[in-house]
């Protein structure tokens, strides 16, 4: 909480720090007690909170949908099954609309992406202090210093999560590009356009330019995909944190904070949904491009 013994800066910093587990510079393994230590762990550290929440939410998604899938019959659907079918049909329509190739993996991939990201984003609507505060109290029971217990509950505000997904999508893009177009076809796509020429000398001359442009285009896809999601959710989370600062400023400011938090949450529902949808649609479109022969 933004309690008396914490400054605003410390409060914000605390909220933006993941619970990192890794090897300290001195060789011992353990949790990072502050952002400095987390940074020093380098690449071989893992954000326990991000992993926990994303895997938990992903499991919730799979569990719920698996339950529905088991009960799915051609009879009249009811209640939850109806909802699941509605979501599945929504995804199916979208995939049919923007994916022209034939690949049985794309639609389930889109469904997973959409629902998983949606659930992860929705964690943003839980008031920012609830889960971290509870975690600190529970950790306090086990003798941990509450100030060193970090808990970031929205996995999509961790670039690791968004890049993790977009890199997987990128790998699929490369795989299908190579598979459908062949190594030569893919290479041609990267080097023979946008500048085209009949003259072989010019053609060779254009190659590095084309490769540069197309390479940037190719690499920007996963980067923009993940940064868009991360940026939107991070900004939204940041505003929630800033609004939460008002709660330490007396009754009037607290009331104002409550109203603001509610208003921002309502508006944020749109972002939560929209970002999940955009990530899903763009992934489908990118995979469609990978399947498309020129």
């Amino acid at each position: 909480m933004a309690s008396e013994n914490l400054t605003s800066t410390a409060y914000i910093k605390h909220h933006l720090q993941n619970l990192a587990f890794g090897q300290h510079p001195d060789g011992s393994w353990g949790l990072a007690h502050n952002s400095q230590e987390a940074r020093e762990m380098g690449f071989w550290a893992i954000h326990l909170d991000t992993m926990f929440w994303s895997v938990l939410l992903g499991s919730v998604f799979l569990w719920l949908f698996r339950k529905a899938a088991k009960r799915a019959t051609s009879d009249t659907p009811s209640g939850f099954l109806n909802f699941v079918e509605w979501v599945v049909e929504f995804i199916d329509d979208n995939v049919r609309g923007s994916f022209s190739g034939k690949n049985d993996m794309v639609a389930p991939l889109a469904l997973t992406l959409f629902v998983w990201i949606l659930l992860q984003n929705t964690m943003d609507l839980v008031p920012v202090d609830w889960i971290p505060w509870t975690t600190q109290k529970i950790a306090g029971l086990f003798g941990a210093d509450p100030h060193h217990v970090f808990m970031k509950v929205v996995p999509t505000t961790d670039p690791n999560a968004t890049f993790g997904m977009s890199f997987a999508v990128f790998a699929l893009m490369l795989y299908y590009s190579l598979k459908i177009k062949g190594p030569l076809g893919f290479a041609a796509e990267l080097t023979m356009q946008p500048f085209e020429a009949k003259n072989p000398v010019l053609k060779i001359l254009f190659m590095p330019v084309n490769l540069f442009l197309e390479g940037i285009g190719l690499l920007s896809k996963p980067v923009s995909l993940s940064l868009r999601l991360f940026g939107n959710l991070f900004a939204g989370e940041m505003i929630f944190i800033l609004i939460a600062l008002l709660f330490s400023g007396g009754v009037i400011l607290s009331l104002l904070g409550g109203a603001l938090q509610w208003a921002w949450a309502v508006f944020h529902i749109l972002i939560v949904l929209l970002q999940a949808f955009i990530f899903m649609v763009l992934t489908v479109v990118y995979l469609d491009m990978a399947h498309h022969e020129h």
């Binding site: 890794g22 049909e89 469904l111 997973t112």
Partner: protein, 156 residues
Amino acid sequence: MNINLTLIGQSIAFIVFVWFCMKYIWPPIMNALEQRKKTIADGLAAAERGMRERELGEQRATEVIKEAKGKAGEVIASAEKRGAEIVEQAKTDAKLEGERIIAAARAEIEQEAQRAREALRTEVAALATAGAEQILGKEIDPAVHARMLDELATQL
């Protein structure tokens, strides 16, 4: 906000989720949806067929009713004709019977009259004879005057 092993962890989690979804979630739901689509399409087709059959049945029923109406009309007409015939026959019979009765009555009356006339004639002859006897003061021999008396009687 450091890039670290979480990246790979998330990628692996993502791939596992997609695999699970592709294997255990998507196909059964899509199958159910497809099947339901088929069921609904079949149901609609059956309904369509039922409608058409009903229409045909209605048509057939109308035809049957029309035919029955025609037949009933015929039956009624023939019955009426037959009735008229019977009435006509009865009328003729009655007329004939009446005439016969009248004729018989007439004959009887005629006979009766004849008989009366005959009796009258005999009586008149006797009376005339008696009268004449008184007038003439003598007996008239019926045998002698029979011819004359017969003539008189015929004149009556």
